[in-house]
Amino acid sequence: MRIYIPCDAAAIATGADKIAAAITAEATRRGVNAHIIRNGSRGMFWLEPLVEIVTPQGRTGFGPMTVADVPGLFEAPATHPKAVGLVEEIPFFAKQQRLTFARCGVIDPLDLDDYTAHGGFAGLAHAIKLGPAGICAEVKESGLRGRGGAGFPTGIKWETVRTAPADQKYIVCNADEGDSGTFADRMMMEGDPFSLVEGMTIAGIATGATKGYVYIRSEYPHAIQTLNTVIARARQAKLLGADIMGSGYSFDMEVFVGAGAYVCGEETALLDSLEGKRGQVRAKPPIPALVGLFGKPTVINNAISLFTIPVILEKGAKHYADFGMGRSRGTMPVQIAGNVKHGGLFEVAFGITLGEIINDIAGGTATGRPVRAVQAGGPLGAYFPPHMFDTPYDYEAFTKRDGLIGHGGLVVYDDKVDMAKMARFAMEFCAHESCGKCTPCRIGSTRGMEVMDKIIAGQEPEKNIALVKDLCETMKFGSLCALGGFTPYPVLSAMTHFPEDFSKAAIKLAAE
């Protein structure tokens, strides 16, 4: 009997370790030979902990499991109350186009042979044949854009580093995934970590960098542990180090743990942090591609960009670019979170509308109440009301509607949400996380929070709303980085689309 139980942090948080222990105990009690494999998550979090049993038809799922549900797995699995059928036929899963996440949840994340059997290191083998210029051309042709949020073409960044003369270059993976509503980096680091080793090695060969760092936030202890394990295993298998796969290229990498500063997800703040300093934003230019870590040319890519590299090199740029719309090529791992019935990871080609994702795929709210707002793109992303759910998931289409895709997170709210409170929270979060280098962000966020308090208290709402709008303009155009520069997005979108929440206090006061 082969049984898959996820070791994903969200599965563990919902009890996967207890289920694994209960299954082991029950199997021993019954004298059944149970082979338990701890896989990553399939990304259907309403079903976690999701147990899968291998059958001749495929992997059948049971979830969300409790310890009390365990004996039933050994008695009558077909009629088990938590049976969900063949996992890959669940509509949420079957409707996806998984390229980056193809192996996540399928394989044993720590098993190098399992990784290789599922296409692992085929991309690296192809990359070695292409050579640095060939790899950069391939990545450019794929149309891959930075998945951290800025959407800068990855191939162009690599080409810049490749052609920069230097005695030392670096690859830095930004896995400081601090946006609320996002967990794609975490899932991949826990579910398919070897593909990051492969993606970073390809980046190293492409640009002439021999050293890589993965900057992981400290809030992800499982991901840190998993990645450290696979790096050691890759080194042992000579897939990291000198003369990788007999190619003559050398590359090695290590994990660096952050210390709980959201702003370190900004690339230049991350570099300062990696150098052991306060994570303060650097003024650009010079760009990190020319003057980056320790002053050397540095590729700094979001984890999902790097996780996507192996499949592009394995299946070809054209295969990847054939997915998507307009200038947004390929697929996006959309993360559906918050007050949502079917939350999880949904990888799909660009072009699907926000409404299809929220209503059709995710099935609306968890509370069963109407959806009132969706925050797209993390704490710095705009709030979308339902009448804008026709917006296609595409970098440019979101920009046109004063929003952003960001790292692909969507946080759903029901009709009980107070948007004035959310606007205040955006300012509070910015004040809490500001690195302090530029004035609009450092001072603006605190003043914004204070003025929001006045609006909520019903003090001169019209005058104070105008003041917040003016302040947002200053922050938007005067801040050094996206923290101060994008905090106005949630604030202004909340004011524009939900004005009733900002005059509510005033109306209440007037009525008294």
């Binding site: 969200a10 919902t14 975490r186 709980g260 500063a261 052991g276 994570g279 968890a366 959310m422």
Partner: protein, 150 residues
């Protein structure tokens, strides 16, 4: 108890241009917080000023300069958890314990700290108790979790 030789061992194990954050992580792991004495010792060993060390310690939310309770409960305050009532539940717990964010109960058993996202956003609200993750915490679930530590 501050032990200078232990600080020296940690500093020696993490030499390199990027070592300070790693050293601070190890110091906090060992002592529970980063004391003035530890900062002085690190500055001395790395040949940097105490202000530089303090600047880094005070910048990052993870580092503490005061001892904490026997148990540490981190509650997520970010948007996804708020959408499922995490903020309301957290406020109720803090009020019942009579502490503010970052505060420790009078008996020194429990410190409640804020955290902005644990990456469990599809199973909100979430929390971390002494490094162990917990998700789908409604008001009763959070209360039970706090009771484990009290």
């Amino acid at each position: 108890m501050f032990k200078p030789e232990l600080v020296n061992t940690i500093v020696d194990a993490h030499q390199g241009p990027d070592g300070l954050l790693t050293i601070l992580h190890a110091i906090q792991e060992e002592f529970g917080f980063i004391s003035e004495d530890a900062m002085r010792q690190i500055a001395l060993r790395l040949n940097i000023t105490r202000a530089e060390v303090y600047g880094v310690v005070s910048f990052y939310h993870d580092y503490r300069t005061q001892p904490v309770g026997r148990h540490v409960l981190k509650l997520c305050r970010a948007e996804a958890c708020q959408s499922m009532g995490g903020d309301t539940n957290a406020a109720a717990l803090l009020a019942r314990l009579g502490v503010d964010w970052g505060g420790t109960t009078a008996d020194g058993r429990l410190t409640v700290e804020p955290v902005y996202c644990l990456g469990l956003c599809a199973c909100a609200p979430s929390a971390m108790l002494d490094g162990a993750l917990h998700a789908r915490l409604d008001a009763a679930g959070l209360e039970n979790l706090a009771q484990e530590a009290l």
